[in-house]
Assembly symmetry: C2
Homo-oligomer: 164 residues x 2
């Protein structure tokens, strides 16, 4: 039995108890959360989100690349979100290597060098600011009055705001 | 008070009750979930995931672009995940427009045409298969023995597997 099969068993239990079939497509809280994919960071528990509340966008590092601009653009332009919350976190894997190292290792293992940057970073607060700067610079994300960035502390469970 | 401020109040409560400070960086279940950002789709509730279990990657549509290849590559190569679960869902916003329409509207509103596709799709099952195909085609994602795709039914809470 794979882990996927075990999760499917959980999904059957979720469906059996399901009572949220009437929720509309646009997020009720009009907010998009962009967070690292890290297993320890649970945006639902942390932010008290329930089904229907918010768009949740996640990737390695919680960084902003073209695909996050795409998702945020669709979120705001078509589905009515107005605020953005960015969450990086302590003990992030992206702090443990450099883009050059990652791409060289992939090249050595596969014979092909990725055409994309790994988006590793050396300083958490600086990378949160970098993500905010990329959002502010994008012409495709119309609503920027509330774009705030945070670092989640995986040891304490606390969320710390990164100020400009 | 913004919605962000309300979520920060929830975050303070989460930290006050926090008892998961010892979790390691690599996901315990060695699995990565790639799902749509939709507000009604809660991967934690649906799959029974807890803090520490799985990488969760999300974007508009749950599609696979270069940035999801980046995240999955880092997830598998550096952090030990071995299975991938893809989740699209019914009533998805991505079913309601075409890439051409989206890019033309952005051009009309901003004067700039996005250099990326919006990744809209007309058929849910076909797009799940397309996402699997992109993963299978990538030289940067090493472990492909368990890459399975699903459609989450937002009305019933059920998860339906898409077979090749």
């Amino acid at each position: 039995m794979t882990v996927t099969d075990e999760l499917l068993r959980n999904a059957r239990r979720y469906a059996a108890d399901f009572d949220k079939g009437d929720l509309p497509l646009p997020p009720a809280r009009q907010i998009a959360v962009l967070a690292c994919m890290d297993a320890r960071l649970n945006p639902y528990g942390l932010l008290g989100l329930s089904e229907g509340d918010a768009h949740v966008i996640r990737n390695a590092g919680g960084v902003v690349t073209a695909d996050e601009v795409r998702s945020l653009s669709i979120s705001q332009r078509l589905l009515g979100t107005r605020e953005i919350v960015l969450i990086h976190h302590t003990d992030c894997g992206m702090l443990t290597f450099s883009d050059d190292e990652f791409r060289a290792q992939v090249l050595a293992d596969t014979g092909i060098k990725p055409e994309w940057a790994a988006e590793a970073f050396a300083d958490l607060d600086q990378d949160v600011r970098q993500s905010i700067a990329r959002i502010k610079a994008s012409p495709f994300i119309p609503h920027k009055d509330s774009v705030r960035g945070f670092v989640y502390e995986v040891k304490s469970g606390e969320l710390r705001e990164v100020h400009p």
